[in-house]
Every structure is written in structure tokens, then in C-alpha cells.
């Protein structure tokens, strides 16, 4: 058995454990790529980051963008999954078309979106102006830039939620719905009292997966706003990139990566606790 597992374990060790333990190791050193010297720093990188205003700003941005985009994706994804469930024709075609944004490479998708949202001559501005509507500054105003990156993330990842929730609906016991209908339940009552409670474990599962994933939100923001204007859309991953790949400070970037991991792990632990508290059927 161990022999069969060896290739997988080797790959996981190479791409997961080695980078992880390297990051933890380097986070305790002053390691600047432009210098030959690597000196032990203890917890200095961590204390320096935790005392930085920018760290808390980017953490706040991350929570706001992740929270808003995951919530929006859940609402839209669930609505579309229910609509698809109710459809009798063209389900495959509609679900395929809906899933297309998720297939597009994020950077390519980001470039498409940038040409849509760019000021004055972008597709969206040009369309709104043709109807005599003065468009907002999608990428240049801090609040609108946050809105735009949330929309971009929703466009990209909502299809994933929709598909998972639709698959969950497929496994649904229709006898319950039919029984409720016979008892005179309206569509809203079916949704609130039967469908949503039955789907709760699946909903919490996709929310946990998407939240973990959304914390790594980088490529679309990098292409659309590069974290700007100023630091309005700078998430924790963009800040890590800035420190690691622009300032070449591997030690601090590693410490930031470890801090991000701790935050995400705590959030996921909270979600699992919540799931186990509300019903033990989730995991």
C-alpha cells in the first residue's frame, strides 16, 4: 500500500510541504534577495508586520472583498441553480454557457474585464454614455474599484457555486417537495423550509471552499487595479506579492504568508465548528 502511495506523497511533499516549511523557516530570517547575508530575526518579521498600518488595511480590504464577493456569489449561484433546477429544457446549454467564465484563464479574463471597465472608451462606459448616462469611475474611484473587483470575482467564480449547488439539487429527494406541495406549501415556503435546510451542509461546504480560495484572490485584481487606487483594492496576497516579488524581501513575505495561513485556518475552523454545531451531517 505504501508503495502505491509513494508517488502522491512525493508530489505533495515537493509542492506542498517543502514550500510550506520553507516559508515558515524563512519567516524567522532577514532574507533580502539583493543581499548575500541572511540573519536570524526571530519574530521580528511578524511583529513588524503586525505593527504596520498597511498590513491591517490590506487585511481589512481582504475581509471586505472576500465577504462581499462570496456572499454575492452564493446568492446568485443559488438563484441560478434553483432556476436551472426548475428548467425543463436547455439545462445543459445554459449551465455550459454559465460555466464559461470559470474556464477562462484569470489573467485573460482580467484583461477582457479591464477593456470593459476602462474609462470613457471601455465597453461599459461607451454603452452607458450612448444612453446619456454618466458612468462612475469604475477603476479609479476607491469605492467603485472595490465594487468592480467584487463583480469581477463574482463573474469568475459564481459559476462554480452554481454548478456545485445544482449538483446538490439533483440529489434532492423530490418526494419531500411533492409532499409539501400536496400540503399546500408555496414556492417560497418550499425554498425556506425544505430546500435551504436540506442544502445547508452543502452551502456551508462551498462557502468554506470559496472563502479559502477567495483569500488567494490575486490575478484579477492585479490586472484590473493592481491593488489601487492607492491601497483601495490591495488584498493580503497582493501585499505579499509586493513584498516578495517587488521588494524582494523573502523573510517578510514568508511571515505574511504564514500570518495569512493562520487567519484562513482560523476562519475555516470557525466554519467547521459552526457546521458541527448546527448539524453533524456536513463533514
Amino acid at each position: 500500500m505504501w508503495l502505491f502511495m509513494a508517488p502522491s506523497v512525493l508530489v505533495i511533499a515537493l509542492v506542498l510541504f517543502y514550500p510550506f516549511f520553507s516559508a515558515v523557516y524563512y519567516s524567522f530570517f532577514n532574507y533580502y534577495l539583493g543581499s548575500q547575508a541572511i540573519t536570524f530575526a526571530g519574530f521580528d518579521n511578524y511583529t513588524a508586520l503586525l505593527s504596520e498600518a498597511r498590513f491591517w488595511i490590506t487585511m481589512g480590504n481582504t475581509f471586505f472583498i472576500v465577504g462581499a464577493s462570496v456572499a454575492l456569489q452564493l446568492v446568485l449561484g443559488l438563484a441560478l441553480a434553483l432556476a436551472l433546477y426548475a428548467c425543463t429544457r436547455g439545462v445543459r446549454l445554459i449551465s455550459l454557457l454559465n460555466f464559461l467564465p470559470h474556464v477562462v484563464t484569470p489573467v485573460v479574463g482580467g484583461i477582457f474585464l479591464k477593456w470593459i471597465f476602462v474609462g470613457r472608451w471601455g465597453l461599459l462606459d461607451a454603452t452607458l454614455i450612448s444612453f446619456n448616462i454618466f458612468p462612475p469611475d469604475w477603476l479609479g474611484d476607491p469605492d467603485w474599484a472595490r465594487f468592480t473587483v467584487i463583480m469581477a470575482d463574482t463573474w469568475k467564480f459564481m459559476p462554480f457555486l452554481m454548478l456545485v449547488l445544482y449538483a446538490g439539487l439533483q440529489a434532492f429527494d423530490t418526494a419531500l417537495l411533492e409532499a409539501a406541495r400536496i400540503d399546500g406549501a408555496s414556492n417560497w415556503q418550499l425554498l425556506w423550509h425544505i430546500i435551504l435546510p436540506m442544502m445547508k451542509p452543502l452551502i456551508l461546504f462551498v462557502v468554506a471552499i470559496r472563502t479559502m480560495d477567495a483569500f488567494r484572490f490575486f490575478d484579477l485584481i492585479y490586472v484590473l487595479t493592481n491593488g489601487g487606487p492607492g491601497t483601495a483594492t490591495e488584498t493580503i496576497t497582493l501585499y505579499t506579492y509586493q513584498i516578495g516579488f517587488r521588494l524582494l524581501e523573502v523573510g517578510r513575505a514568508s511571515a505574511l504568508g504564514v500570518l495569512t495561513l493562520i487567519v484562513v485556518a482560523m476562519m475555516v475552523a470557525l466554519l467547521i465548528w459552526f457546521m458541527q454545531r448546527r448539524g453533524r451531517e456536513a463533514f
Binding site: G140, P229, G230
Partner: protein, 193 residues
């Protein structure tokens, strides 16, 4: 502070989303007559006289920024250490790329680095932005010879943009940027902690 405040006030007249735009968007703004004035990369100047891409053919001109002292930045060759295995070939490639014929032939793609080519009246007549480029070189200044200049500029620019878009007051943004640059240079050993 006055300069940043001027930028902040000018931003009301700037193209929406200018903080997220680079030379590609900039060139479209100029060519589509959306922006009236601004900086342009020399390699994008030819677009302005291309009737298939530009609405302003023959209606615009290039000039030296008032006051001069603008920064001169250049692209360069990145030479792998493995190239030392064939130094002769590397030298030939560089010599060929930089000789007068090559620069003359590629003058529509990149600014000739040889003054003799850049200031050639025939080249300047054919590519009408080169007289301004040549004058810019006369009054421009290289960036400070500090290895960390780009990194410090990146840190400070974040704060400057925050001031321009109204996220922070100008003084607070510049103070924060200055403190962050000092912190960066302290980490790099320029200042004592």
C-alpha cells in the same frame, strides 16, 4: 506638497480610472481624442499618426515638458551568466543590434540610442516625434543612482496616489510615504535603526 495638491486638483479633469492605466491605455486615450495632454512612451508615438488607429492624425505635436528635468528611463539587455560561454557571439549580437544600420532600420519601433541616428534630419523628418525626444534627452536627468530607488518610489507612489484620489490628506500621505521609505532604507542598511 504643492505639486501633489496640484495633481489632486488636476485629477478632476483626468480620464476616469487613470490611476490604473499604463502606456497602452494612455495611447488609446490620446489616439481617441479622450485626453488632451500627458506623457507618452516614445515607442507608442507612431500610433498617433496612423489613420487606422488615431482620430488626431496631424492634429497633435510632441514637446519637451516645461521646465525639463524629467527622468530618463531606458530598457536594457538582460544578459544571462550562461552567455559568457560564447562571449564572441554575444558581442556580435550587441554590435549588430546597436550599429547604425540596425538602428536606422528599427527607428519606427524604438528610439535610436545613437545620437547620430536620432538627430539625422531624414529620420527626424520621417518620425516627427524624434526632435522632441532628442530635446528631452538634452534636459532630462537620469534617475538617482540608488539600487533601491524603484522600490522606494513604488512605496511612496502608493501614498501619493492615495492623496490624489482623496483617500488621505496630502500631508498625511506624504508623511506616511516618507516614513515607509525611511523604514525600507533602514532595513537595507542606509540608516541605523
Amino acid at each position: 506638497m504643492a505639486a501633489i495638491d496640484l495633481y489632486r486638483r488636476l485629477s478632476a479633469f483626468a480620464v476616469p480610472g487613470f490611476t490604473s492605466q499604463a502606456n497602452d491605455e494612455n495611447t488609446v486615450n490620446f489616439a481617441q481624442d479622450v485626453a488632451a495632454t500627458g506623457q507618452q512612451w516614445a515607442t507608442r508615438c507612431a500610433t498617433m499618426d496612423n489613420p487606422q488607429r488615431s482620430k488626431v492624425v496631424g492634429k497633435i505635436q510632441w514637446a519637451v515638458p516645461p521646465g525639463g528635468r524629467q527622468a530618463i528611463t531606458t530598457d536594457g539587455y538582460a544578459i544571462s551568466k550562461f552567455s559568457t560561454k560564447n562571449k564572441e557571439m554575444l558581442f556580435r549580437i550587441l554590435a549588430k543590434a546597436l550599429d547604425e544600420d540596425s538602428q536606422r532600420g528599427a527607428a519606427d519601433l524604438a528610439t535610436p540610442t545613437r545620437r547620430a541616428v536620432l538627430n539625422d534630419p531624414a529620420i527626424q523628418a520621417k518620425f516627427r516625434w524624434y526632435p522632441a525626444v532628442s530635446k528631452c534627452l538634452d534636459v532630462g536627468e537620469p534617475l538617482p543612482a540608488l539600487a533601491e530607488f524603484n522600490e522606494a518610489a513604488e512605496v511612496a507612489c502608493k501614498r501619493i496616489v492615495q492623496a490624489i484620489v482623496g483617500q488621505m490628506p496630502v500631508k498625511a500621505a506624504l508623511d506616511a510615504g516618507a516614513a515607509e521609505v525611511v523604514e525600507l532604507l533602514t532595513r537595507r542598511g542606509y540608516y541605523r535603526g
